[in-house]
Symmetry: C2
């Protein structure tokens, strides 16, 4: 968007730029039509380039979609890894990973949607090793849980891989609520949801604590039930376009 052809870029940079443009367009189309449903022609049109150019940058459809997935997923993975390395105690780690996931969604709902809707779902034949990616996060997280168990921060009888699955399953489905529009994509809603995910995972539904500052809200009846969006007018209508 920003750079029109006005700015002269050296050959190589212009090329890399093109490639990224196509990749972005692919994410866009992919998020609308799904892995199998999208046509190369759509991607080309979305990117504003000729049909054939897509094949100049990517061997075939599989490679294109593979790249889309790859770049999104590795970005997410590295953010998660970074978050984990910044924190030392278990609760903080859990909190920061959830934070990363929600932040990613806030930043790029489309991209997250693509990842959510495709990871681990689709025929084993596909070029993209989604199954492998799925396995990776699960095992990364499982390592964290196993470590927490050794530190005595977590009951020893839990299976770490399963704990990891419950963790990411919660995050994924929570984000799915937003993706499908059951919850409104609004900052305050996202924040409270994030807290509830963390609390429920750590302490269970029965003992989940309210979001920090929720007490204040509790005292103010007019803002009492932010979930049910009493006054529809406020921000409402976030530009739905998924």
């Amino acid at each position: 968007m920003a750079t029109r052809k006005v700015t002269k870029l050296p050959r190589s940079e212009r090329e890399a730029e093109r490639r990224k443009t196509i990749l972005r367009a692919a994410v866009e189309v992919f998020s609308r039509k799904g892995y199998q449903g999208c046509r190369i022609a759509d991607v080309a049109k979305e990117a504003g380039v000729a049909y054939g150019l897509v094949y100049h940058y990517f061997k075939d459809k599989d490679e294109l979609l593979g790249s889309v997935f790859e770049s999104g997923w590795s970005a997410f993975l590295s953010r998660v890894a970074a978050a984990l390395s910044h924190e030392s105690d278990f609760e903080a780690k859990v909190r920061s990973v959830v934070h990363v996931a929600f932040e990613a969604y806030r930043r790029d709902p489309r991209g997250v949607k693509v990842l959510i809707l495709e990871v681990g779902r689709s025929p084993s034949g596909g070029a993209v090793n989604r199954g492998g990616a799925f396995t990776n996060v699960i095992e990364l997280a499982a390592g964290v849980f196993a470590h927490a168990q050794q530190q005595g921060e977590l009951p020893a009888h839990l299976e770490p891989k399963l704990a990891a699955a419950l963790f990411f399953g919660s995050i994924e489905m929570a984000l799915t609520l937003f993706v499908v529009g059951l919850l409104e994509r609004r900052d305050d809603v996202l924040d409270r949801a994030r807290d509830q995910v963390v609390e429920t995972f750590l302490r269970g539904v029965e003992h989940a604590r309210p979001s920090p500052g929720a007490a204040a809200v509790e005292a103010n009846p007019s803002e009492a039930a932010p979930w049910t969006s009493a006054k529809s007018g406020t921000k409402s209508r976030v530009a739905r376009r998924d």
Copy 2:
């Protein structure tokens, strides 16, 4: 499987039987190749019928796949509803729904895989109203949670829909572990996993209690860590073929 053509059935019943055969075949192929990836020819071959017959029973591909989804999903929904109506207190409801889900997986892994891999994931254009189905369960469960809140069994500050999402997200991802082969599909593993799902959801990872009878196991070192399957030969290479 059981009935060959030996047993003479009245016309109408034979037809209904055929229809079911095709539906079953569709589930099978569908679970292998995915919604978009499967070809009608595959379904016909799998069912052992002529290509054209598929079109005799189903208007087109979409209707076929819609029926597959519909029948599986409605069966699941009614079991869930039944389970809910049998129990009165909150914990029991949670436990029994998880039980239903795991039981469904035990009975028909392929079918569950299809539901898991397709529900809520795919372009909104699809004939099947998967999104609607997804919304349905979430809202069914949300009702249960809201009711529990009124009974004081659950903190009032939780958003019921989100709680429902966390609940089903946990179940789904737990089953996914089995579907992709990260956990072995064995009765004892399934049982323990089921308990851990319930416990983690109700009380959180930090306070999840061991499975009933785990204490007994705890006392017996040889059976100590069934998760990590000390003796390697046991689990290893689960016959990946989903």
